[in-house]
Symmetry: C2
Amino acid sequence: MNTAPAASSASADEPRWLTDEEQRVWRSYIEAATLLEDHLDRQLQRDAGMPHVYYGLLVKLAESPRRRLRMTELAMSAKITRSRLSHAVARLEKSGWVRREDCPSDKRGQFAVLTEEGQEVLRRHAPGHVDAVRQAVFDRLTPEQQKSLGEIMRIVAEGLQPSGTGADLPWLR
Amino acid sequence: MNTAPAASSASADEPRWLTDEEQRVWRSYIEAATLLEDHLDRQLQRDAGMPHVYYGLLVKLAESPRRRLRMTELAMSAKITRSRLSHAVARLEKSGWVRREDCPSDKRGQFAVLTEEGQEVLRRHAPGHVDAVRQAVFDRLTPEQQKSLGEIMRIVAEGLQPSGTGADLPWLR
DNA sequence: TGATGGAAGTTGAGACTTCAAGCAAGTTCG
DNA sequence: CGAACTTGCTTGAAGTCTCAACTTCCATCA
């Protein structure tokens, strides 16, 4: 959402306002992103009893060797803060879907580990979730649009990355 | 975020999992959306003292005749629930940027009205916000990509619209 | 008129997020 | 070694969001 003050020939230090067309694009983005997030949150909350982000965390763990990830690593890969992750894992632990384990090589470190029940929850609800994503996004877009969306979002994500590739974690050797 | 169980020839009732390429697209989308929301929230919270959604509400009001909108109308146009809006307006009211006014023609109705200070806050912080949006999105995309993004998001948003065009509000005559 | 159902908006509790502060363990370097 | 700094992660409080009531008022229709 943006403002568009009276159109004017850009003066020296006048900010570069969005053009009408840019505003339409931006508005569409915001609306779609808002609706989509909401939609997926609602779907997963109803069916699986957790918000979309939490589901994403379980997926990341499921895809990882030994179904575990260091807290920081998980936070980075999910693009959330450690604090947020800490709270999230606490809740997932309470639900029995994740368990914490001490890191042997670094006494400060913690692993988040997907439990058996966590895997079961994923197995049970993945189909419904994929469906939701398909219906909301992929089924509505042409292959070219899908490709385009991927490229665009990759570019945007890259530009916002906390800095560096992030692949400079010591534990990754 | 999705799961991709062992690839298999889709059996009768096997859900249509995302292909590898679709997964990459989806992952990029989620990452970009997460980072972007976070980035804008942080920027606005730091500079203007409110999250991105709240800023969006002020903008909607600023663009409306007499700088006011019925609660339901504002909620729909911002794609959020009435409940959320109710809380949000309460907070914006406390900050002095919005004021509520009774609707003369419907005693249940409320207008959210942008105050003078609300306008001032927008004036002061719009440039910084536009900058942030430009840097994160528009400056990184080609004109074709911008256009494409607009089309794609318009399609997705349309598919998730609560149903109907929503333009069937009585007060709009 | 007045019963019924729907619409507008609010509320409170609980869940989630943010922010700043904090603790403990690793690292650096004189 | 040990002070100073950094890293990994957690914590609590304050802010925000969701969900399910709930209140009030409007609209319909007999």
